[in-house]
Symmetry: C2
Subunit: 376 residues, 2 copies
Amino acid sequence: MKFDLLATDLQTKARAGIITTDHGTIETPIFMPVGTKGSVKGVHMRELEQDVKAQIILGNTYHLYLKPGPDFMKEAGGLHQFIGWDKPILTDSGGYQVYSLAEHRKITEEGVWFKSYIDGSKHFFSPENVMDIQRAIGGDIIMAFDECTPYPCDYQYAKQSMEMTHRWLKRCCTRFDETAGLYNYTQSLFPIVQGSTYNDLRVQSAETIASFDRDANAIGGLSVGEPAEEMYAMTDLVCSILPKDKPRYLMGVGTPVNLLECIALGIDMFDCVMPTRNGRNGMLFTTEGTINIKNQKWEKDFSPLDKNLGAYVGIHHSKAYLRHLIMNDEILGGQIASLQNLTFYLWLMQEARQHIVDGDFREWKEKMVKKVGCRL
Amino acid sequence: MKFDLLATDLQTKARAGIITTDHGTIETPIFMPVGTKGSVKGVHMRELEQDVKAQIILGNTYHLYLKPGPDFMKEAGGLHQFIGWDKPILTDSGGYQVYSLAEHRKITEEGVWFKSYIDGSKHFFSPENVMDIQRAIGGDIIMAFDECTPYPCDYQYAKQSMEMTHRWLKRCCTRFDETAGLYNYTQSLFPIVQGSTYNDLRVQSAETIASFDRDANAIGGLSVGEPAEEMYAMTDLVCSILPKDKPRYLMGVGTPVNLLECIALGIDMFDCVMPTRNGRNGMLFTTEGTINIKNQKWEKDFSPLDKNLGAYVGIHHSKAYLRHLIMNDEILGGQIASLQNLTFYLWLMQEARQHIVDGDFREWKEKMVKKVGCRL
């Protein structure tokens, strides 16, 4: 994996770059649609490519490990081939889901015991086997196995957890470096900064993670319930330490406003289920602001969903039609909303990138934050 | 509406024709995807046009009457404009749903009282108001309000019901002819033959319906549980009476084999929820036969869903991937299966048409019935 920094904004810390992987390039800043079980919910692969213009998508190791499983993945020739997506893929480590989805999980120095959300069966994740599983899934980018602390988190727990995450990272790197990819392309391992909302822990973690000198660095443990201001403060602090010549990935973030603010702090990569999950529930992100399509006010609004975006669904369908579909639980409603929202997210990243290159990012960002932060 | 009969098969009663409406032409034999609430479930309008190559779709008056309602439809400028579909639309009369979905319905000579499946509210359908509702929805083709008898049905009830359906048809025609379409195009009213599975009633009904001399004729009350042989016998009998120079529409039919057999009996138009509903449940229609994708045998079958059809999803995705999606309740599974099935249905109609024109329909049909009737 290669990262070329093409432009750095002078008035903010925003950066425009390009990541090169064996499955093609990724223009940063980038948003990565989440394809939990090997499918971005409600969106065809062709639409991801042609409408959304996604350059990289995510898979969730926790879900793919449980079903269809790593042995299956090997037989399928890896996730790209299995799902029919030949651009880059990133897989998370399963850590986040183990903590958020699994009941009766037991965290030890060795790893984590947890019960499957599907059938209650018992499973174990360790830094080593999570590397092996991600080798089997075959993402171009794979994530270190970490503990994601909840918010709020007391200092002592946050510190101990962070230290264990650092020890786990060493084990991840060892296993990763002594194994090879199973398919005909290179994988990169991203380490993850933790440290909850404590400045000294975040500094310590950022320095430790940076010292591993991997291809890029990620920031975890944010967007877990803390106020946006705390998230921005931690992101800013960590970005000030992470090396400039490597991509920075802020995990699980966020709203369009979050993305714009964090780009300004120096983040290059984002992922979030919000555009698809909230879309299915009727939240629509448009170039004019955010819409709750279930509101009565849209019932007879026959104007296009978002005529400015240039996306098929935004031009072709009205707010009233989408509302009718969502209110009547029609599958197509979720499809249209997901397609609109993802297209909007990717468009926002491309616009941001262009303005970074053009040198007027800050002005544009301030205008856009007001616009996309607005509830219509 | 205009119907031109282009070719009649010499060895069967199959016909190839073309229907001209104000929203464009329909090449027959044709299959019409069902868009119950103004959406063909799981399929974008663009996909219906470009992948499925649908030439006409259905809306259900019962559902659209309850939500969003006829007054809303008028404000929306009719169904075409509301849903973003500018090719022909057919709406049924709501009769079938009143009998199959509504509890506590009460049938009188005047019309039918029924309770909404949504909120239990009381509603009344009469031949007159069903014409008004379909004027408001604005289908290019609208259906007469009839009673669809169940199977089995005793002779006396079937006879009385059929006679009432004929009286209702007269009222439908009167109302239809004394009103005008609300939008800038012409609507056609299709009457419906009833008579359950009784030869003499079917003959009587076909003669009566034909005597109304409308733009086309439909056959109802079949595919309601009777053996396929009875359905074919009734279809054959009715087709022998209905005029040759008008399209014949067999309502609610059916499997690919049903379609092929009924084309051979002289049917021109079909509709059925099977390709989408069964698709969402994992039944896949392919050029090689029918697949239940939930079967274990497809778990590791990484071959394309249907490489012969030329449809995007059939070439791009494997059986194993579709199985994974369907087994894990991923929305995309239903989308892929629906797209494959509808594309297959429309392809089958175009193939049939070409073979009718070429004069080798019977031979082809017999081969295809074996093939598409096969469970893989």
